[in-house]
Point group: C2
């Protein structure tokens, strides 16, 4: 990384990189409908428990998830309700990829 970025760019990258992995995005999408424990998320993404745990740590350190231990289980939830907005924005951009020459801001 030779680019000297602005502070705002750096914090944006922190969030975007955390979401830039299929398993992690899948986790985040699943948590939109409510909290889940790690073993459920493990079944969802289908990789080793330790791998899931590390993905969760990355999302957590990016500030996107919060965790709570209840009994033996650890539950994760989105720490930010504006995720839906975010994904809508991504969808508008990705839809412009496939066919249409541009996308609208009006979603």
């Amino acid at each position: 990384m030779t680019t000297p970025q602005l502070p705002r760019t750096t914090s944006r990258i922190n969030v975007i990189k955390a979401l830039a992995h299929p398993s992690r995005l899948t986790i985040v999408e699943a948590l939109q409908s409510g909290e889940q424990c790690v073993c459920d998320l493990r079944n969802l993404v289908g990789t080793d428990l330790s791998t899931v745990s590390k993905h969760l740590a990355i999302l957590r350190s990016a500030g996107l998830l919060s965790m709570e231990k209840r009994g033996l289980k650890v539950f994760y939830r989105l720490s930010c309700p504006c995720f839906l907005d975010f994904l809508n924005c991504v969808d508008r951009m990705s839809s412009s990829t496939s066919s249409s020459p541009s996308c609208s801001t009006a979603g």
Copy 2:
């Protein structure tokens, strides 16, 4: 990638991964204020011209940028005007990282 993702997740990842690099995000941020040629973007990010060119190819293949050659120069611009919305969403999420326990959708 052992995770079998939904099609929607896959296209989302395509966009998010394209933005998950400091130089590429810096480029995209700069293009918000209008088109620029590759050599200007090269000065902006400060890496080799070939490196910038490859970053631009990644952003282009993700459908985020469009290019137009005029004379010797190649001008790049955002192909989607909803970028500002996207970055605002990212900012709301990244702001929840640092101090406050959660962020608001009304941001």
